[in-house]
Point group: C2
């Protein structure tokens, strides 16, 4: 395959775990640089003209990002992924995966996919959107069917 | 990676060619069985209550399938893919790729993707539909952007 730079999208789920393992094997085999990305999908409460939507004036974004960073760090540490190859971004996974892949200039994205039932399929999965928009190859790793 | 049985969807296009090369390398490396599939996307002229839509009462389906079989055979021959691992099916690529993958019981589908512009993106690509519906991993190999 001879991929040189890979990005694995990791969402702390079971199917993310499978994708991470595959990406790690593949990177080890191809002697490729493996970047790891977690996207925090969180919309902070927005002030409206009627006041804050949230009952408390608290924005959890920073805490969520910090907590994701430390979870990702412990996973990355085990796999020997150095700090400069770890990414935590805030926003839409579909968009952030493609954006970071382009920024880093990877030639393979590895992403987990969930089962083919339910709303996920109806709305279109993150993986299929990444396939449609990425400029590089994409390996979609199938998780367990729910 | 250690995939044991792979299916590559080959549409005789440039991006199909890239997918075929990747699949062949990967199969050689993993010592996996590589199946190759071409889907003939052809709707034969249908008789309506006003008579045949086609000016000639000719059904080209058989010729198209035969021609695809011989083109596929010459490609498969070069790669050493034996006859029982060659598939030519008539219908929708999205559906046939997933169906044949399940019938053969492959653990990886390799499929080419075209550029991210134009109608293809609007309608959703074959690759992204395969990602949504396949029961196994899918490697989408990016072709040149048109």
């Amino acid at each position: 395959m001879a991929y040189k730079k890979m990005l694995v999208a990791y969402d702390f789920s079971d199917s993310g775990e499978k994708a991470l393992q595959k990406a790690n094997e593949l990177a080890g085999h191809d002697k490729a640089k493996l970047h790891i990305l977690h996207v925090v999908e969180y919309l902070p409460p927005v002030d409206t003209s009627f006041g804050a939507v949230s009952p408390f004036e608290v924005d959890l974004t920073d805490q969520l990002v910090e907590s994701a960073k430390s979870r990702l760090a412990s996973v990355a540490e085990k796999l020997g992924i150095p700090k400069e190859q770890r990414w935590v971004e805030l926003g839409s996974p579909k968009l952030e995966i493609v954006r970071v892949a382009e920024e880093v200039g990877v030639d393979l994205i590895v992403v987990g996919t969930h089962g083919r039932h339910g709303f996920g399929l109806l709305l279109g999965s993150t993986a299929s959107s990444v396939v449609n928009h990425a400029l590089c190859d994409v390996l979609s790793v199938r998780g367990k069917d729910e």
